[in-house]
């Protein structure tokens, strides 16, 4: 009898081996990578762009995700927007997903065709050390702010973006990109350091350089003496993109 109980116990242990927090799996639709339902746009994409279409997945039942080559993203998106049979005229969202651990960061484009009532999610995967991709702002004006947010939160550089600068975080935020997985929840600087920096801000920090030019042009009201604070040099950078303002130049200034 005792032996019987032992074997039962061992069998139970064996059953438990694959479980535990994080390993317990919820039944659900999950991801289908094989046996994906046909999606008219994905089939047409494959026929037109061939190798540039990398993967096709189906998520949560009916959401189609297609991974494409980052180098040809702009071309593919233009085709999806302008081809009459596709006509994805509404770009609902541009965002990023970081899985952490040095895995590539995904840039996600959620598309919707009002005419055909069809959804398609286009993704590109970018290695963490080469986060740049062509901007789609020339195609959809709405991408402007979404891409700025993706840049602000993940540090993805969008080439040929008309106005790539931080949007939610302040322009002179120097702690990095908050939504990356390696960014600690409370920020990189201590609370004291964050307060010190906030107090050291100049009036000019609240304006864009272009806006200050307007002020200069008016004459008369120059910044008060002693506040000759160099504006971040931005003009020379490609695509008008501005990186986080130089940390060395500004960090010491408040003291």
């Amino acid at each position: 009898m005792a032996k019987d109980n032992d074997t039962k116990f061992e069998a139970a242990l064996k059953d438990l081996a694959g479980t535990g927090p994080g390993k317990r799996q919820m039944p659900g639709p999950g991801v289908q990578t094989e046996a994906v339902d046909a999606h008219p746009s994905v089939d047409a994409l494959k026929a037109t762009f061939g190798d540039a279409v990398l993967r096709h997945e189906q998520h949560a039942g009916d959401e189609h995700v297609v991974f494409v080559d980052p180098e040809r993203l702009r071309e593919i998106m233009a085709w999806l927007k302008d081809e009459p049979a596709q006509h994805y005229d509404l770009l609902k969202d541009v965002t990023c997903v970081d899985y952490g651990g040095g895995r590539p960061i995904q840039v996600v484009y959620e598309l919707w065709s009002i005419e055909h009532r069809r959804q398609l999610r286009v993704k590109v995967e970018l290695p963490v050390d080469a986060l740049d991709v062509e901007s789609v702002t020339p195609l959809w004006a709405t991408a402007n702010w979404h891409e700025r947010e993706a840049y602000d939160m993940f540090g993805v550089q969008f080439r040929n973006h008309p106005d790539l600068r931080r949007i939610l975080m302040p322009e002179n935020y120097e702690e990095g990109y908050p939504l990356r997985k390696d960014f600690p929840l409370r920020g990189r600087f201590s609370r004291a350091e964050q307060t010190r920096r906030a107090l050291a801000l100049d009036l000019e920090d609240y304006y864009l350089p272009e806006e200050l030019e307007v002020k200069e042009q008016k004459g008369g009201t120059t910044p008060e003496p002693g506040a000759e604070r160099a504006l971040p040099e931005t003009a020379g950078q490609p695509g008008g993109a501005r990186s986080v303002p130089g940390s060395e130049a500004q960090a010491g200034e408040g003291e």
Binding site: P21, G22, R24, Q25, M26, P27, G28, P29, G30, V31, H59, A60, G61, E63, V65, D89, L90, L91, K92, D93, T95, V97, D98, Y99, G100, V108, E110, I114, R117, Q119, R121, W140, A141, T142, N144, W145, M153, R166, I167, L168, M169, P170, P178, L179, F183, L185, Y206, Y207, L208, E211, V214, K215, Q217, K218
Partner: protein, 424 residues
């Protein structure tokens, strides 16, 4: 919508030149005018200004009274909700959602729960579906009422604000009866609701449905043909249908431009296809059409509310799935299995399958998308909110550049934004 009946027209403005541009009126004694030719002025609206509806800051570059450039500066209310969400279990995120759009909290609660349920493949009960539709339509009216009140204040009409707030107070009371909170409702749970409808709730909603049209008619009577209201709104902040789609506008703002896109019709959820309601569509895409569309939307929401009251089925509000729903306290105390389930759900959270889901609902301000990504754990890898207000405010420069500074106020008000969700 072809019910555009404007009986009053704006009298011609003597300060407006033949080319439609304003003629500068003399403010300096003759002979002493300083030469302002070609000089631009920089002016800040906000971050603390009643007409910015929160902590929005607009930097306007003005040539005289004409806006040359408008730059919205946002982020003053950034609370990092999306980052916080990555450190919380699926159910613990729900309180964050209603703090985004505090003008229509239940819509955000429902949208988030729906996205996670889709990711997990949970089919909620029939009663829960109808209840959620009822709550969402209530909050659509809730949000539109404050929109019309605050917009009227921005334009200069005070009475409307008092009348709509009186009506809102009744919805606040309904929130309170249902959840105990008036703004931060947190009413949904994954797989159901925090609680079933309290006794007397449906009767209260029925009373609301019966009596709101009178207030709507009164508000409409004050505004629709009001000379000031028409003058400040008609042909102001115009955006064409093509531009509106290109700028990603959704909801009433898009429909005012003549595009009949409504998530409830185009990608129905919660059996919206079985409800009988119309989608009002404007023609000109100006502030006045946005007003007309929202007024009509409230009436349509009342129709949907009436149908939810008529069809509200009996039955459980939560799914019968101990993996996601906490067992009742009585069961916990008397039944071993229930206690284990309770322990597991509380301590380990609800695991979601690997995958992702982007769920769009028609919020009061446009399409609200909840994007949840899971790697199989009990916390999301990424939780993203595609907020309609964020997109709405991004179109403001396009709408106001080249127009007068007073139109900035009217246009900004007509877009219907809430800063909690823009800054997140």
């Amino acid at each position: 919508m072809s019910t555009r009946t404007v009986e009053y027209t704006v009298s011609s403005n003597p300060e407006m030149g033949m080319d439609g541009r304003p003629v500068a009126s003399p403010v300096f004694p003759v002979g002493m005018e300083p030469d302002f030719q070609g000089e631009h002025m920089l002016i800040n609206i906000g971050p603390q200004h009643p007409a910015t509806h929160g902590v929005l800051r607009l930097v306007l570059e003005l040539d005289g009274e004409t806006v040359v450039k408008c730059t919205p500066h946002i982020g003053y209310l950034h609370s990092s909700f999306e980052k916080l969400g990555e450190y919380r279990g699926w159910n613990q995120i729900i309180p964050l959602t209603d703090r985004m759009d505090y003008l229509a909290p239940l819509i955000y609660n429902v949208a988030y729960a729906a996205a996670v349920e889709k990711l997990m493949g949970i089919e909620i009960t029939e009663r829960c579906k109808v209840v959620r539709v009822m709550l969402m339509e209530l909050d659509r009216i809730f949000s539109h009422l404050i929109w019309i009140g605050t917009t009227a204040i921005d334009i200069g009409a005070f009475t409307v604000f008092l009348w709509t707030f009186e009506e809102r107070e009744r919805i606040y009371n309904l929130h309170e009866a249902l959840t105990g909170a008036r703004i931060t409702t947190s009413a949904t749970r994954i797989g159901g609701m925090m609680a079933d409808l309290p006794p007397g709730f449906t009767e209260a909603v029925q009373h609301f449905v019966d009596t709101l049209p009178k207030t709507l008619d009164e508000v409409d009577a004050l505004l629709r043909n009001n000379n000031l209201w028409v003058g400040r709104n008609l042909d102001i902040g115009v955006i064409s249908a093509e531009d509106a789609v290109n700028h990603g506008l959704t909801g009433p703002n898009l429909r005012a431009s003549g595009v009949p896109y409504d998530v409830r019709k185009d990608r129905p959820y919660y059996d919206y296809e079985t409800y009988d309601f119309d989608v009002p569509v404007g023609e000109n895409g100006d502030c006045y059409d946005r007003y007309l569309v929202r007024m009509e939307e409230m009436r349509q929401s009342l129709r949907i509310l009436q149908q939810t009251l008529d069809r509200l089925p009996d039955g459980p509000i939560n799914v019968d799935n101990p993996r996601v729903i906490l067992p009742s306290k009585t069961d916990c105390m008397s039944d071993m299995e229930s206690m284990i389930h309770h322990f597991k759900v509380v301590m380990e959270g609800i695991p979601a399958p690997v995958g992702e889901s982007w769920f769009g609902v028609e919020s009061s301000k446009g399409e609200l998308g909840m994007y949840v990504v899971s790697d199989g754990g009990s916390k999301p890898v990424r939780w993203r909110v595609r907020g309609p207000s964020f997109v709405n405010i991004s179109t403001l420069p396009k709408l106001v550049e080249g127009h007068l500074v007073a139109d900035v106020i009217a246009t900004n008000a007509s877009l219907d934004i809430v800063l909690g969700e823009i800054d997140r």
